[in-house]
Amino acid sequence: MSDYNFAYLDEQTKRMIRRAILKGLAVPGYQVPFASREMPMPYGWGTGGVQVSASVLTPEDTMKVIDQGADDTTNAVSIRKFFEKTAGVATSEETSKADVIQTRHRIPEEDLREDQILVYQVPIPEPLRFLEPRETETRKMHALEEYGLMHVKLYEDISKNGAISTSYAYPVKVEGRYVMDPSPIPKFDNPKLEMAAVQLFGAGREQRIYALPPYTKVVSLDFEDYPFEASKADHACDLCGSETSYLDEVIVDDAGGRMFVCSDTDFCRSRRAAGHVGAQGVPYEEDVA
């Protein structure tokens, strides 16, 4: 521990990032520029999220890291190890035990509490980016609340596919003001954005931080005749039998075999521990990995 400052970043950097976070919380949905640092991992691996997490962590905190809902994938494991090593904080895979949860592309199934912080890794913070490539212009559009273009994208979806086919990074309007990219979470998670926990979004390469304070009003954009739908695979989890959780489709052989499993591994594990068994599941045993 003596080799590093607590949580890797130096104190000045953390102050700078905290100022950006406070500004982001004061103006929900507004993208605050910040001086993103080089982190010991490539851009796209969550450099923004890691900097935000490092700035809000305290030594007493318990940290959880998920990647697409899973606690055991490369990204989640390496970021968890990073904080174990540089901050010496306790880590957990249990949502309810964590104080800070860093996430890539999912919101945990379990409802979060007011004393928890959810940190998102964001690749492209600008929801208008693929429609309007000029940064000067998108900033002006945000400033003047000119969001007609966002609906042009949804219009194109419907005219091509007969339905709004945007299924992740689904644009939302925050407190009736800023249009925000909720990071590439599935649109199934969009209704959960109105939650008790503080939500912080960090984009390292793009050098932006934005935030949602607890219970902020978040509305998914839609058309009157094509309302927003929080969709998921029409199936139950094959391991725990849950019919309400967001599912991953897993190909299990080369003969068309497949199974649907909860993308939130902690949620699935705790349900199986409580005795729920899905169609292809086996009874839960504590020591089986």
């Binding site: 003047l144 000119e146 042009v152 219009y155 194109e156 005219s159 091509k160 839609d222 005749d225």
Partner: protein, 256 residues
């Protein structure tokens, strides 16, 4: 009758060089004004200053807004001016690519202005888009094609549909027929003339093509080196040019 649009002593400099200087005129509802002149005479500068794309160095651009009557659009706040730009004003670019979103379908292009002013019903937006494609003679089947799959003339017509869908009262056009072959030009002019008369639009058309103003414009303004050298009714200016430059311009038109 009060003018719809008034320009008072509009001046724009580029450093020491004159863009346009002391331009004043009134435009009445339903009137089409042509601005002609050679390349570099300041006509596009003037048009961009009037449409709010450039900030003039001096002068006023007054518009009869629906809510508050005559307002100076130069000193207006930017949100107000941009709002005007997507409701009561329209701007047709010379190159359709500048005025269209090339990656968005024809229907989306026409619908953008509707969505920008708050339309949130897909069926209605699409219906209006198809209606407008019909009015500019684009087949309804092509509503989901991208403009990049359209010919030059169709792109230009699409741009016009996109601009007129919110029912503007004043249209700025910058060489609307430039770069089109003559038969396509003729059809486009025919279409424009029909739309202008039918909707009672006021328009300001910048062009170097005298035939275009002869067909479309009620009044004409001739520019040279940033100054207006002659104004008057179109037929009067073209048939009996007074200023030396206008005489040169009129006599320079090639006869077939």
């Amino acid at each position: 009758m009060t003018p719809l649009f008034q320009v008072k002593e509009l001046t724009k400099f580029y450093g020491n060089r004159i863009g346009c200087k002391d331009v004043s005129f009134d435009l009445y509802p339903g009137e089409v004004m042509g601005i002609v002149g050679e390349s570099g005479s300041g006509k596009s500068t003037l048009l961009n200053c009037m449409a709010g794309h450039l900030t003039p160095d001096a002068g006023e651009v007054l518009f009869d807004t629906r809510a508050d009557g005559m307002r100076d659009t130069v000193s207006m706040s930017e949100p107000e001016r941009r709002m005007l730009g997507r409701t009561d004003w329209a701007f047709v670019h010379q190159h359709a690519r500048d005025g269209l979103r090339m990656g968005v379908s024809a229907g989306g292009n026409v619908g953008e202005r509707l969505m920008a002013v708050g339309a949130r019903h897909y069926g209605d937006i699409r219906e209006q888009a198809i209606d407008w494609l019909g009015r500019v003679e684009i087949n309804a089947e092509r509503v989901d094609d991208r403009p990049s799959a359209f010919s030059g003339g169709m792109q230009q017509r699409l741009q016009i549909a996109r601009n007129l869908v919110t029912g503007p009262r004043l249209v700025f056009m910058d060489e609307p027929t430039g770069g089109l072959d003559v038969s396509v030009q003729a059809r486009l002019l025919d279409l424009l003339r029909g739309l202008v008369r039918e909707m009672g639009l006021s328009a300001i058309i910048v062009t170097h093509d005298l035939a275009v103003v002869r067909l479309l414009a009620d009044r004409l303004m001739v520019m040279k080196d940033g100054h207006v050298v002659e104004t008057g009714l179109t037929d009067q200016v073209l048939d009996d040019p007074q200023h030396g430059y206008t005489q040169l311009l009129v006599s320079s038109v090639l006869q077939v």
